[in-house]
């Protein structure tokens, strides 16, 4: 809430200053960043959490594991709440593409929209089967019910890939013929499958599995730290942790490939990531540090490392900020944002790799995850860390594209509205989203308390989620109001 008050304070100061300004670039960017930053946290729960839930469901039916079944059922309730908030906050983004970026949609909607049309299909399938799965526990037979969840996972992969395809197109636009500033022909497959598509899509999907896995594992780690070391908590930690721990090493490799591709395909973004003032070879990697007056200060230099990472060779040339034409050169604060966000992402990714290896080693040697307090504490914070890394990654790709909305074709100031005043809309959105974030946490806590109370009572389960995983529950009928 403190962040919220501060944000409002900044807003209140900014409104009179900017109300007269016809350019709406600043509020449009801030609002897009805020709403996309909010929505992206929910994406892993629609895309990957559902897969984790199905793994528990499968284990429950295949091996007659009642605890796993109970977890799957509880997770489906949580997924239901998060999917609802994710669906509507995603719809806001659809509106915003028109309200905040009319210049982008009017000029390039014919190209940029195609991946979104494909995504629409996946969203339909996802919404339909999420409903069937979540509300099918009572009356459907176990295996058909399990299979009704599988389309959710498939459409999660397809939907995420489609949206990322649109983003990849903004980074590396292709597949269009422009005449007199108008798109006169499109080549849909080239628009969808740009060179940036593959690594961006895989990178985001793995990120979704890491975030969902570490966050859920983290929740159960907190429970175990507080002394709840029953089988439910162990399994509730083990299943999502295993998923995240498998995704993490792959992600490190994919991220490394992605960085080299960005070096090749998006040299300006790479210059920002490296905060490199001048083009050169034998470039050192600067850990931390900020660009001040054309020089990187306060950082730790690792000699030759940036060149080696970019091309496996110290003589690899890396383009600096000086290679960007002056009127396209991003301001130092943008460079610093991208540079530091990239480092935060890589640092967290490395730490999570360590945690994954720790858990994996223990599993290999002892067939179980460590249960000491240090491991549990690390797992408890891993979820938050993964979310931070996810946000940082999006900052890198979005801020790193500035001043462009579509690289080489459309500058951000030409995409934003030229009339109206977006600040009140932004303010109302912040207030509403803060309320929804608060409501989401509150509601999920309430579910947890209900489950705990049910466990304390033993047999009786007022929510009806635990005692009879399949088939009508006893204690349901009179309980709702």
């Amino acid at each position: 809430m403190r962040g919220h008050t501060a944000a409002m304070g900044v807003l209140a100061e900014a409104v009179p200053l900017l109300a007269a300004d016809s350019s709406q670039v600043l509020p449009a960017r801030q609002m897009m960043a805020f709403t996309l930053g909010f929505h992206i946290i929910l994406v892993p729960f629609g895309v990957a959490f559902t897969a984790i839930m199905l793994i528990a469901n499968y284990r429950g039916i295949r091996h007659g594991d009642e605890t796993a079944l109970q977890l799957a059922r509880r997770w489906s309730l949580v997924a239901g709440v998060l999917f609802a908030v994710g669906a509507v906050s995603g719809t806001v983004l659809s509106f915003e593409l028109g309200l905040l970026w009319p210049g982008l949609m009017g000029r390039y909607g014919a190209a940029f929209g195609i991946p979104f049309a494909v995504e629409g299909l996946f969203f339909f399938v996802e919404a339909i089967f999420v409903a069937i799965y979540i509300y099918g526990w009572e009356r459907m037979r176990p295996w058909p019910h399990f299979w009704s969840g599988v389309p959710i996972v498939i459409s999660g992969v397809g939907g995420t890939s489609s949206v990322v395809a649109a983003n990849a197109w903004m980074n590396m636009p292709g597949g269009i013929t422009v005449e007199d500033g108008r798109v006169v022909d499109v080549r849909p497959l080239e628009i969808f499958f740009t060179d940036a598509f593959w690594y961006e899509a895989v990178h985001m999907l793995l990120a979704a599995y890491m975030v969902a896995g570490f966050v859920i594992a983290g929740v159960y780690a907190v429970g175990m730290l507080r002394g709840r070391r029953d089988r439910l908590h162990r399994l509730g930690l083990a299943i999502p942790f295993a998923v995240a721990a498998i995704a993490t090493p792959i992600q490190v490799v994919v991220g490394d490939v992605a960085a080299r591709e960005v070096h090749q395909n998006e040299p300006a973004k790479f210059a920002m990531i490296a905060a490199l003032p001048e083009t050169g070879t034998r470039v050192p990697e600067v850990l931390g540090g900020v660009l001040v007056d054309g020089e990187v200060r306060y950082g730790i230099e690792v000699p030759l490392m940036a060149s080696i990472l970019a091309g496996f060779d110290p003589d690899t040339e890396i383009q600096g900020l000086d290679a960007i034409p002056p009127d396209e050169r991003p301001a130092a604060r943008l460079v610093n944002t991208v540079h530091l966000a990239f480092q935060v992402m890589v640092a967290i990714g490395s730490a999570l790799l360590g945690l994954a290896l720790w858990g994996g080693f223990s599993w290999w040697r002892h067939r179980r995850l460590p249960e000491n307090r240090l491991f549990l504490a690390c797992t408890a914070v891993s979820g938050v860390a993964a979310v931070v890394a996810l946000e940082a990654g999006w900052v890198v790709t979005e801020v790193g594209r500035q001043p462009w909305t579509v690289v080489g074709l459309l500058r951000t100031e030409d995409a934003a509205p030229t009339t109206g005043n977006l600040w009140p809309f932004f303010g109302a959105t912040v207030v509403l989203y803060v309320a929804i974030a608060f409501g989401t946490f509150y509601v999920l806590r309430l579910l947890r308390e209900r489950w705990r109370a049910a466990e304390a009572e033993g047999e009786a389960d007022p929510g009806g989620e635990g005692d009879v995983p399949y088939g009508p529950s006893r204690a349901r009928a009179g309980d709702r109001s």
Partner: protein
């Protein structure tokens, strides 16, 4: 080709108006159901019948937006730079509505349920009203071809206010008819009568507003008025006849038939609007073919629409069948 893409877009609008409209209207009845004690049972029915289907129904809106901005990008930008206030309010309303609904299902304390329920119900009225004003603004020719029309009068005008009011009323009507059938399925005679009565009242009010609307359109949007009374006349009459039939026969016919009549009434009047403004996308500035994206884009959208027909429609039928058979029970 562009006409076909416009037809696909319009099919999405129809689907959203009927299916999404029924969900919005359920929120209207939730809002007007009275205090916590008196409104408990109708709200419970609203809750149970909406829960499994509202997200799928909601996707039609996203479908429409995507079809519009991809197939007719310049028209989309013209609409968003003109009607940004009602569109923004509709977007916020949709968020508050979905979140409020999802939260209320979990909450147990009455005061908290009331808060979440109010967010759901009030925004269920706000959002269709705003979308109705958008339709009114487009239909009455207030969105210029290059956009940036008047940010206020484009949606605060007689035709838009009529559009918004009719949107809220038709949503309430369809919802009342659907919920009547839902109550019948559950053998809840009392609740069936509760919604039946309301469906009749709102059908009468909608008819009266529509009649008054004729005068409004004649004064405010003569072009739309003329088109509705010539090319659109059969559809307008069809809508009026099915609405009237639903009103008069609601006690005699099976709820399912009444449901069909209600859907027909709403679909026909929306189709009437579409017919009346053909071949314009933005009356009277931009035609469908002028606003259309390149042919390859329209072909891509056609393929997506075909896939939707093959994949999404059967899935949706499955969802509705399961919901109707009572296989999907809320927790």
């Amino acid at each position: 080709m562009s006409t076909f893409a416009a037809a696909v877009l319009f099919t999405g609008v129809l689907a959203y108006a009927v299916l999404g409209g029924a969900d919005f209207g359920a929120g209207f009845w939730d809002l007007t159901a009275g205090g916590a004690g008196r409104g408990r049972r109708p709200r419970h029915l609203v809750d149970e019948s909406l829960a499994p289907v509202w997200e799928a129904n909601h996707v039609w809106l996203v479908f429409c937006l995507v079809m519009l901005w991809t197939g007719f990008p310049t028209a989309f930008a013209a609409i968003t730079t003109t009607l940004y206030i009602p569109l923004g309010l509709a977007a916020l309303g949709i968020v508050a509505r979905g979140a409020g609904f999802a939260f209320r299902k979990v909450l147990v304390r009455t005061d908290q349920q009331r808060l979440a329920g109010a967010a759901f119900a009030i925004s269920s009225v706000l959002a269709p009203f705003m979308l109705g004003t958008v339709v009114g603004g487009i239909a009455s020719g207030r969105v210029p071809a290059d956009g940036h029309g008047d940010p206020i009068t484009s949606w605060v005008n007689p035709t838009s206010l009529l559009g918004g009011t009719l949107a809220v009323l038709t949503c309430a009507f369809v919802a009342a008819v659907f919920l009547t059938a839902e109550a019948r399925r559950r053998d809840d005679v009392e609740l069936e009568a509760w919604f039946q009565r309301r469906s009749q009242v709102v059908a009468g009010v909608t008819g009266a507003v529509a009649l008054a609307g004729i005068a409004v359109l004649r004064a405010d949007s003569p072009r739309l008025f003329d088109a509705l009374l010539t090319r659109g006349l059969p559809l307008v009459l069809l809508s009026a006849a099915s609405g009237l039939a639903a009103l008069l026969l609601v006690r005699r016919l099976a709820p399912r038939l009444v449901q069909g009549l209600a859907v027909l009434a709403v679909a026909a009047i929306i189709a009437g609007w579409g017919t009346a403004q053909y071949p314009y996308l933005l009356v009277p500035h931009t035609t469908i073919s002028e606003a259309a994206a390149p042919a390859a884009t329209l072909w891509s959208l056609t393929i997506v629409a075909a896939l939707a027909l093959v994949i999404v429609v059967p899935s949706m039928v499955l969802l509705f069948v399961l919901a109707q058979r009572g296989s999907l029970e809320s927790h």
